[in-house]
Symmetry: C2
Subunit: 323 residues, 2 copies
């Protein structure tokens, strides 16, 4: 019998950039995100004998992606062994479908590993709490820990495998408008970019310190239901993330000139009384947060810069009834 799970990407308002532990994927600081209501990944895990297999969007995945899946399944099998389950020795056929545009930087590794964590845990017979599923998903891709969570998530950095997990937080009502200015895969992966930042950016320690502070401020702004403050923190923090990255030697720039045009347009919206704030992950695409009622107006203002999608807060990773 197959286990099927569904998870959505998330976009961070307080970003994750830098690992304190590369193997366990413990971040240098906590982060906060909104889980999206679109671009789900649906993943089926069926136990089998023989070798693990991984099919992505109807095609057998390449060796690298298959290897990454097997490494993740090994974690699940270890948990199964610890729980004394017979499944611990089983292989798995993993079938995954991304509804999002491939490689468009819409955090497909977050939804992918969140869905895989939930489906694999179920398939191997593990009974894991949301917290423990978040910890497990984290091992596949750090930000996957947050896609476990409904709507808004805080990923506590923690200092160990036990203490590094995401949980829900209330936040002001908001929508996100994404502007995909470039759908090509980025030149420098996040993994490589994080290493270069740690090794050569003179601002790295200050980035870690300020991100801790920023997360505290974000949690306070959320507790106050203060949309404007949440937006200001988000936009300033995004600038700081791109600044710490840009200070590497040689410089790494994830934002393209057109990305900055979108930031400029968002500032112009605010000048016009349309309250919106911009952020961007490690890539050229920009995500704008605004009040839900303003999403259409915001989308219209940036339609010329790229492909537009509008998001509401979405559900955390969850099991579907098996077919």
């Amino acid at each position: 019998m197959a286990s099927i799970a569904r998870a959505h990407p998330n976009i961070a308002l307080v970003k994750y950039w830098g690992k304190a532990d590369d193997d366990l994927i413990i971040p240098v600081a906590g982060s906060m995100s909104m889980t999206l209501d679109k671009f789900a990944t649906t993943t089926t895990v069926e136990l089998t004998t023989g070798l693990d297999s991984f099919e992505l969007n109807g095609t057998l995945a390449d060796a690298k992606a298959t290897q990454r899946t097997t490494v993740f399944l090994d974690l699940v099998r270890r948990l199964a062994a610890d729980a004394g389950l017979e499944t611990a020795t089983a292989s798995a056929n993993v079938t995954s479908v991304n509804e999002g545009p491939t490689a468009a930087g819409m955090a497909s590794s977050a939804s992918g590993f969140a869905a895989l964590a939930v489906a694999a845990a179920d398939a191997y017979g593990l009974k894991l709490s949301t917290k423990d599923l978040s910890r497990l998903a984290r091992r596949g891709s750090g930000s996957a820990s947050r896609s476990l969570i409904d709507r808004f998530a805080v990923w506590h950095a923690g200092t160990s495998d036990e203490t590094s997990f995401a949980e829900a937080i209330d936040a002001p009502e908001m929508a996100m408008v994404s502007v995909t200015v470039d759908a090509k895969a980025k030149k420098v992966s996040s993994r490589e970019g994080m290493v270069a930042t740690r090794d050569t950016s003179p601002y790295y320690q200050a980035w870690i310190d300020v991100t801790h502070k920023t997360l505290d401020e974000m949690i306070a702004a959320c507790a106050d239901d203060d949309f404007a403050r949440v937006g200001q923190i988000t936009e300033t923090h995004a600038h700081r993330m791109h600044a710490v990255i840009q200070a590497t030697e040689p410089p790494i720039r994830y934002l393209a000139p057109v990305s900055w045009q979108v930031f400029d347009e968002v500032a112009a919206m605010r000048d016009d009384g349309l309250e919106a704030y911009a952020t961007a992950d490690a890539g050229p695409n920009v995500v704008i947060i605004c009040r839900p009622d303003d999403a259409t107006a915001v989308a219209k203002r940036v339609a010329g810069f790229g492909a537009i999608e509008t998001f509401a807060p979405g559900p955390g990773a969850h099991l579907l009834d098996a077919a």
Copy 2:
């Protein structure tokens, strides 16, 4: 009898951003620049009685600019008094002509105060060394200290009025190509931007620390006559300056989207074997350094982005024969 002096703007390869002493204009770290061979300021100082007057480009300057000139002349008069000169009580008529495009961000305050320092010192009868003229010019505008110097200058940060001055350094043969993408005056002055950076950028201390290190590396690269290394240091350092500024709250961005297009084009030149490196002061305009023989090719590559000028290393501030 009038004293006439001529000085040129300079473009920093290691930037000055941040004051350790606002009154004395002692910078937080040293810097290094090339004095340009164009866009001179020619300044005439004639002693008079009555009030100081300041005429800029044929028009009587506004109250603010006149006040800034008088404050500077007061420094000169104090030096004259210390030297026991009768001129110490005289006022001055100052007439200044900028050959550069007005407010196009071509460092006209550097050439302006360098020319004023030299002309005023002469008019008041002071016999100052280049070092002391550099110290004096610094009080009008920090980067003016470097325009005293022929070709290439290092401004030693120092810790006092005595120890903060520029002097000559040998550097590899190079040309500069400036791309004026926007000739409008910038929204946030350097003075305001420096204060905001100090007060709100979490990377400020790291910027100071790395700039000290960068200047040491630049001096070493110059001693080795290593053009490529000088270029790499220049471009990385420019990214770091804009990064420390961009990390302010709210973020300040001096570079425009089109500025980043020029940076991208310079990276593309290098991919094509045309060795060039980009930098930018606190404004949207970009300056490219290259080997003198490549200046025409570089200028051609960026002609579409704005008004282009090509510069060789120019002379330091100097007296002209009185008319």
